[in-house]
């Protein structure tokens, strides 16, 4: 009696459990599975990008707080160029002058080699050869970024070398945070859209199932089935469909993420060198299908309960 066992084939245990309502028969469930698979896929991408984004933000902004850089350009205020020695002297004088200022915890004058390494990607190796003067750079660490400290530093710089610049990275950091904040907001909105889409789709599917099987549902109701009893059947049906779709979506999502990582590695995209999802993030990604299942279950329950209240 194959026909009798209308159980689901996905969950081993559910196989023995028959439905009172023929929910697992008939068409229309494939659509929902595919939709949930797609939503899970999108959800995984959104979450993974969000993780990558925060890693990026953390990396770029880490070490920028309580740090500032002083640059001593070769071109002076009057337009004349300093030679190597001039730059060196000014840089040393400023560094010495900073020593007495309270709030400064570390002063490091970058050597020519260090500066060379910094500019090498843009200007090439040749720069350091010969007499060509390069700007001086002092990296300063402070205990705070209060304006009094900054003003003291600024004042000291100006008295020694009026054309020297102080960069607190603040502007750049703020731009970066604004940018990643906007991207994160986009990810949140995407997640919301995905959630609303799923609720709408599952709700619609459940409603149409209810309409199709209204006579059967009414019969169960008249036999004394509680709302919970009837709701459970729809919940279980929706949960199984959502888990099936979620699983498919998660598999494709994972494959896609691995593929992206591989392609990025091949192309040498170095925005996020050696970015890896940590175990917690992987767990969160793996939980998306479960969240899909939860959304489907709750939506089914809510939808059926609402319809059932119209029954006597």
């Amino acid at each position: 009696m194959k026909l009798k066992k209308g159980g689901e084939r996905v969950l081993g245990k559910a196989q023995k459990r028959r439905y009172d309502l023929p929910l697992n028969k008939g068409s229309g469930t494939g659509f929902l599975v595919i939709l949930i698979a797609l939503m899970t896929f999108l959800g995984m991408l959104a979450l993974a990008s969000s993780f990558a984004l925060s890693a990026m933000t953390a990396r770029w902004s880490s070490g920028l707080e309580n740090r500032l850089t002083i640059e001593i350009p070769t071109r002076q205020v009057d337009g004349s160029l300093l030679d190597k020695k001039g730059v060196f002297t000014l840089t040393r004088d400023i560094a010495n002058g900073l020593h007495g200022i309270p709030g400064i915890t570390n002063i490091h004058v970058l050597s020519e080699e260090e500066i060379g390494k910094l500019v090498e990607p843009w200007l090439g190796k040749d720069l350091l050869q010969g007499d060509f003067p390069i700007p001086g750079i002092i990296a300063v660490e402070t205990s705070d970024m209060e304006s009094r400290t900054l003003q003291n530093i600024h004042g000291k710089i100006k008295t020694v070398a009026p054309h020297a610049r102080m960069d607190t990275h603040e502007e750049w950091l703020n731009d970066l945070l604004r940018f990643t904040g906007a991207l994160n907001l986009a990810a949140i909105i995407l997640a919301l859209v995905i959630g609303v889409t799923m609720v709408t789709a599952v709700g619609g599917a459940v409603r149409s199932r209810l309409a199709i099987h209204r006579a059967e549902v009414e019969l169960l109701h008249l036999m004394g089935a509680s709302d919970r009893y009837i709701t459970r059947q729809f919940q279980r049906h929706s949960l199984i469909l959502a888990l099936r779709g979620g699983f498919i979506g998660a598999v494709f999502g994972a494959l896609f993420l691995v593929l992206i990582g591989w392609v990025a590695g091949q192309m040498g995209v170095a925005i996020l060198p050696d970015f890896r999802l940590d175990p917690v993030q992987m767990m969160l990604l793996a939980m998306i299908p479960l969240v899909a299942g939860l959304i489907a279950t709750v939506t089914a329950r809510w939808t059926v309960t609402r319809v059932l209240t119209t029954f006597p």
């Binding site: 009798k4 028959r18 009172d20 023929p22 019969l219 036999m223 004394g224 509680s226």
Partner: protein, 235 residues
């Protein structure tokens, strides 16, 4: 056990299909509900199995006034009522066994108890060899026996049957009536809607007669009066 007090029912804004219906069913009683087609028998049945609520009047079932009860509170009341619908309303995707087992599953009985009870009852109604068959592969008479078995499997305190002999030949109809009598002797209160005069005359029970939505009660005739009527009615 069941008491109706000036109960009225209308569908939407239509006229009242039941007006001032007043009667009582004592525990263990057996009643016929009769009247011409369109008189409101099915409508009254649907009130009795709590398929709808009346538009006016007071209904008391098993000692509780229905009107003030919430949907949730009606659940255990419905579980005490067995219904044989005119069109059976079997679930065609479930086996005969599962159809009969349904009310027990709804009330959450253990599967082992369900198996024993259902198998016993199905043998009793002569369907012991058809437990795994699907209803739509079975004859009308067999389907009806499934419907009846399903209605009585929980030993309901009230059994309602809407024209159960309607589309059956007389012999099966009478066998069915004997089955209901047997259940009645075991304590179930029974109300059968029918307009089969022969049937009502053969089984002498109190009649609730509906006519254009109004109900009157007619006590069973004495055997002598009945005989006179039958003889007198013949040419």
């Amino acid at each position: 056990m069941i008491r109706y007090d000036h109960v009225g029912l209308r569908y939407g804004i239509g006229p009242e299909v039941l007006s001032d219906v007043t009667f009582a069913l004592e525990p263990g009683s057996f009643h016929f509900l009769t009247g011409p087609s369109g008189a409101g028998k099915t409508s009254l049945m649907s009130l009795l199995y709590l398929g709808r609520r009346p538009t006016r009047g007071i209904i008391t079932m098993f000692g509780q006034a229905i009107g003030s009860m919430s949907r949730e509170q009606l659940v255990p009341i419905r579980q005490r009522i067995g219904v044989v619908f005119q069109d059976f309303r079997l679930l065609n995707h479930l086996s005969a066994f599962d159809n009969v087992a349904l009310p027990l599953r709804i009330s959450g009985r253990p599967e082992k108890e369900i198996r024993n009870n259902v198998e016993e009852l199905m043998h009793w109604v002569g369907l012991g060899d058809h437990m795994n068959a699907l209803p739509n592969t079975m004859s009308g008479g067999q389907q009806q026996r499934i419907a009846i078995a399903r209605a009585v499997i929980t030993r309901p305190r009230l059994l309602l049957a809407d024209e159960p002999t309607g589309n059956l030949d007389d012999e099966i109809g009478f066998r069915l009536m004997h089955l209901f009598e047997q259940l009645n002797r075991m304590g179930t209160t029974i109300l059968i809607a029918t307009h089969n005069q022969v049937m009502m005359d053969s089984f002498n029970h109190t009649r609730l007669i509906l006519d254009k939505g109004h109900l009157r009660v007619e006590q069973p005739e004495t055997p002598v009066a009945l005989r006179d009527k039958i003889i007198g009615g013949a040419p």
